[in-house]
Symmetry: C2
Subunit: 428 residues, 2 copies
């Protein structure tokens, strides 16, 4: 202990004041989203029923940087800049010559990276008396009531999805009153509500460009923090569900890589039970189950694919952010899939050395970082490994209880289920 700085902080005055848009720096632009009826690229007008114009502009902007509004910076300052930790105790436990850093987003009031985008989305949507209705996947609504309560504390109304509120929801409940729901179904319901009412807009927590844009403050801060200790990452690993945590950490480092200033390996880590990058196809597909969203070119397991109920609920999405998919196709990022028991084993080692209990989603990133650190132990390489601990696990103790009691299993991925879901993907 005490042999290396454990926590690397920024002053508030050093907090980045712009989000970074990676698109103009890429060697090729990502394929555009298509209108599901005409198969023509969608324009801002097509998105106007769903999003406020400021967010649509961010979705399609060609500018490399977007200024963060002062009001958003004021709220960010409740928890930002977030700390970057050097995992010296974990390194010692592993006996690795690698240097492991993790950017910790669990210091936010929600305990995760999500407020980095929910705050600006609320800001751009804000009108006097703004109300917030949430469609939460029924399986989570039932088994993770703490998350629902937290949203209610902050004033939101939460629906279990499928719900009685939408026609699509009612049709699914008629088939099965105990329908577990899925992220794709919840998106269909929320989009339907937004389309039906001119005063209602849709908000989401991942996948789209503007969401990833807002998360880049993670990577921008991490760049400044690593510079303070004079380190440059050799390997960057981030967990991927819809891609927002990964993109938020990785894109600023990808900028530096494309500019020739560093050359990190950039690696996506996804759950073995929902491996959109490593087992999905790169095709145009819907973002939701009912087929209401524009068609997006992305790695997909099929919009009708319902992933098994692993504990990392935030990674249970049939597709991958089109922007992360594009970068993967360009060869600028690689991907691996890890089963959940290895992830929780790594998380336990992490909690018993670094102190912080990770949420189930970033246990994937931690497990990948540990794999890399153990490879360094074999090879003797002193690699610098950077990852993001995108949330704490205080709301997910039931998952740890299952792991500790030996009841957790690695869910087998059904190739038949993927094949069946892929058969429903539109052929363009």
């Amino acid at each position: 202990m005490g042999d290396a700085p454990h926590k690397i902080l920024l002053d508030e005055s050093e907090m980045p004041t712009a989000w970074y848009n990676v698109i103009p720096d890429l060697p090729a632009p990502p394929p555009p989203p298509l209108h599901p009826g005409t198969h023509e690229p969608v324009g801002p007008d097509d998105l106007a029923p769903l999003f406020p114009m400021a967010l649509i502009e961010q979705e399609v902007t060609g500018e490399r940087y977007v200024d963060i509004p002062g009001e958003v910076l004021d709220v960010y300052r409740i928890w930002r800049p977030s700390p970057l930790f050097r995992a010296t105790r974990l390194e010692r436990e592993l006996g690795t010559p690698a240097r492991i850093y993790y950017k910790y987003e669990g210091v936010s009031p929600a305990g995760s990276h999500k407020p980095n985008t929910s705050v600006p989305q609320a800001f751009y949507n804000h009108r006097e008396g703004m109300e917030c209705e949430v469609w939460q996947v029924a399986a989570s609504y039932r088994s993770k009531p703490y998350r629902r309560t937290m949203m209610e504390i902050w004033g939101a109304t939460v629906h279990s999805s499928p719900s009685e509120v939408t026609e699509f929801g009612r049709s699914l409940l008629a088939e099965d009153p105990n329908h577990p729901g899925s992220l794709g179904i919840a998106i269909s319901e929320a989009v339907a509500m937004a389309v039906a009412d001119p005063a209602t807009r849709y908000a989401l927590g991942s996948v789209l460009n503007h969401v990833l844009l807002h998360q880049t403050i993670i990577g921008e801060e991490a760049l400044l923090q690593l510079a303070k200790v004079g380190d440059v990452p050799d390997v960057l690993v981030g967990c991927t569900g819809g891609g927002s945590n990964f993109g938020g950490l990785a894109f600023p480092f990808l900028r530096e890589k494309l500019a020739g200033k560093m050359n990190p390996t950039i690696r996506c880590v996804e759950p073995a039970a929902c491996p959109s990058l490593t087992k999905g196809e790169y095709r145009y597909d819907f973002g939701d189950t009912a087929g209401m969203t524009p068609l997006m070119k992305m790695h997909t397991l099929g919009h009708g694919f319902i992933p098994d109920a692993i504990h990392a609920g935030g990674l249970r999405y049939h597709g991958m952010s089109p922007l992360v998919s594009h970068i993967y196709e360009l060869g600028l990022a690689e991907a691996i899939a890890i089963p959940q028991r290895e992830c929780f084993a790594g998380a336990l080692t992490f909690a018993r050395t670094e102190g912080i209990v990770p949420a189930p989603e970033p246990t994937h990133a931690i497990a990948a970082a540990i794999r890399e650190a153990l490879a360094c132990k074999e090879s003797g390489e002193e690699k610098v490994i950077l990852t993001a601990l995108c949330g704490h696990g205080h709301l997910d103790m039931a998952a740890y209880e299952q792991y500790l009691s030996g009841e957790m299993v690695d869910l087998d991925l059904s190739d038949d289920a993927i094949a069946a879901a892929m058969a429903e993907v539109p052929v363009l």
Copy 2:
């Protein structure tokens, strides 16, 4: 927004390196603990079966400052220095001219102030392969499984108390297999285990001098942080169960008050369902239910008193820290009791303005701060109010769910129950 600094931080280099012992600065020393058999003051030898000598020395030291070991400082740096927040959004919501500050301890890996003392206690008890067994009150063990799981993640073995492990526990389970337990019973069981095995020691989270000593880093940091913005508290409010959060915040300010450098009103806030200071008697009583601990002079509701099952489980203790009791008797602190519904109403206002969801215990401090701020609104006084938000509420969402659903009630305190418990207190 943006009109005043919201978050006041310290550099790691500014982190205090000593704990503060208030006892030498008090106008009179606190009455000593007494041996339950002889009624003579207990000495270090009497405590040796329970605690390592370093902690016994801290319990009885006459030094004003105790250096924090470097190894403990290294672990503190995972989350310390903790932030001090100016509650500008809450002030605006209340329309008060008061300035409200809160010191936030929810940034620790456990989400509360408790690691400030559990880390040094573990350090002083440390031997190769140290094991940790915890007796958790049965009612909490059953209704709050997340806390148990967190302890298991970090490697502890957790027993529901009363347990089959001790004779006292077995006797209570024989009477009632579903016995809800109490803090006093859990202490009796843990003490019995420590006394029975020369290699086993006892550790506790509040009440004793050395525990409060460790928590003074909270107040020492807050002093430095307030000085950065040039403010001095007119009123300091802290929630009190066993007294460690309150003492940790208040004692450094009490030092300044006794030195004539400031003159804050210092106020304890306790739950109306367990009002040891406002309704208890200042007498020698046992710290535990079975009567195994030394007799301590403190405000007590009787060591057999079982508080109602309010949500602020950390405040459900029949007694009060002897040191806090002594300071209260000296007239250096005052006390009020607040029922839980007012506390949760205040917490909801707090969460919707400041963002952070408080644990049930500090909702008492927040409710008291809001009372004071509203009084300032009436009087026009621009008082500076300081309080401690000693933990976040991510593990206590069930309590909020009950409040939001309208099912929470203010539990009536039974004077008969207090009278019956007080009848069992030894007459010296």
